[in-house]
Assembly symmetry: D3
Homo-oligomer: 142 residues x 6
């Protein structure tokens, strides 16, 4: 690290490189919806947007120790259990499709989650899955 | 269904068959620890024990739409996110090992979960993973 | 159980009977709104719909060990505490009225819950109660 | 209110009267265990102890709009759903027994809660119920 | 306390004084939005409205042991972590501005919270902050 | 960034520098207890330990937009609300003392949190505060 900028400076050359790398991972997994979330943070909380790209996708999502499919299954479990994460579920159910998890596997995963976090959380996540699937069938309608 | 017993009668022939089937699925996935949990409910809440076996394992875990590995990844995500589920994490981190998820994948899944439910939940789940791994290394020590 | 269908087959004669029984319990407690939720799952996650009917209502709600009023009080407590369950609160505040819990008791239960899960959750549940009560007063307006 | 003490002064005559009234309600419902919790706060957070007595029990628990049995059913639902409230569940499962809810109704309520907040929360609450019942059977053993 | 009204009577002279005092604290911190929430409870759950004013603001918010800025920082942490509290976050992000916390500190606090409760909760709270800031910039647009 | 190591390599020179910087921030705020948590992860989940140091403390805690006192108040709010974070509360109540928040302010913050996340969460956090304060009074006893 030849830069003398402090580590917290999100616009240092090092952090710019980390963010760009994260954005490339993000766009592969979450597609346009994920990019749109990060872009939308530029005015209100740019550091949050930086860390979603640089840390979440550049540091974590890109690690080789767990394949993309497995990461999305864990993500579906966490987001369904938390509740109140409908916007994130929308992005990550789309991401699950992007990495090759089938619609049937996604809805089965949500039924499975019901056992551990209850039927209301599973129902709410399933309603989001329906929206995501409908948008994939008819992208112009969304 | 030839039985005239009401559906809620957990000791009807139909429900006995459902429970036995569930127990066989449970013992394959969760092993002795899972069986011990269900057995321990016999005196205090036998209907809860019945539904853990008959519904959770007989009805849900055995469904063909999602492989055992994927189910455990969703389960790890849900239990880590919920928090306060240390006893269940202990059983299901063991179950993750039983269905072929490696130790490295499990700890990687918990790091991944930190992104979505925060570091404290991931840390607490990792401390449970350490206990489970130690018991596998030295079963007599537990 | 004379059927040779696997237990997880939600369209076996046994499971069809379980689901039909559950739907009759569901319609008595949750009325049209509850039925609509299950029906809406037919295309996206039919197994989830099956288990809401067969397990939640057929197996659990119909058990004789706790009266319908008590079950709805527990349900109000759980759904208020979970948060993010507005659609389910809407159905189950309606169900509370259906089993004879008065409006005053419902809002009192939500105030009581505030002690244990905080005022924001109690406020959000109360806003749903207002919607449910308004729809009962003027069904055509909903 | 003839007192000129500020409302936040927990040792004003008005607040002392409110706290004493709350303590009498508390001791009727929660018994010695509830009193012990409030007493234990005297050194570390006396204002928290004051408000548990004066507000929770004096203001809320004593309200006539919902009977004691119903309040404890809501409480069991909330505490089971929250998770991580084992000390409070211990006191309030005891309180449920104190207001006439049977052991069978309590365990049935916890099974019922599993539908809405998942089996792990219901299991953990059931393990606490077992402790409470055992202590009632053999008070000297606790 | 010369009043002979029971403590739970929210319209006794004592409780009316407590409520009025709380409303004056509430209006200073939460402004019109907070008042509107309490007013909106008058028809549906007046006791909940009373305790929001008399207890939350009259008893707790007005205590001298913690300054207003610190209280709002704790509040932001709790509401962000709970999730599903968007209406309350809207009021309390406004309150944070009212007590002198800057926009930059608020969004920094939400980024900080992401570490402990995960990025989805921080993102959802940030989206609410954007709404609040926009309304302050253009009050007529809201 | 002159290094050619991938961003996810936690032992690259860049990440080693980030981690070392984070550890120095961590030791200033959390003291020995925080260091002990990170050290204890070395064998079981070193990447989690890296990101606690490099991301949580190096990237976030060290940012200039919010003072240390304010960060700890947000942290107390989040951890109290989450529940089940007793080990983290222990570290961060200690950290609150380290950055100059008084014992009285800490317990007042926990009482304040009760309003938003309920009394059980506030009680459990207060019990942890008592442990932390006792250890400060008598370090040898812990």
């Amino acid at each position: 690290m030849t830069s003398t900028a402090p580590q917290h400076d999100i616009n240092s050359p090092d952090n710019l490189a980390r963010r760009r790398h994260g954005q490339s991972v993000l766009s592969k997994i979450d597609g346009h919806q994920g990019e749109a979330v990060v872009d939308s943070l530029a005015d209100i909380n740019p550091a949050l947007g930086h860390h979603v790209a640089a840390f979440v996708f550049g540091d974590i999502y890109d690690r080789p120790g767990l394949d993309a499919r497995s990461r999305q299954l864990v993500t579906l479990g966490v987001l369904t259990a938390l509740g109140g994460c409908e916007p994130q579920l929308k992005v990550h159910i789309g991401a699950a499709l992007n990495v090759g998890i089938s619609r049937e596997e996604i809805t089965e995963a949500l039924l499975h989650a019901a056992v551990f976090c209850g039927f209301p959380r599973a129902l709410n996540a399933t309603f989001i899955a329906r929206e995501v699937f409908a948008e994939r069938d008819d992208p112009l309608a969304s």
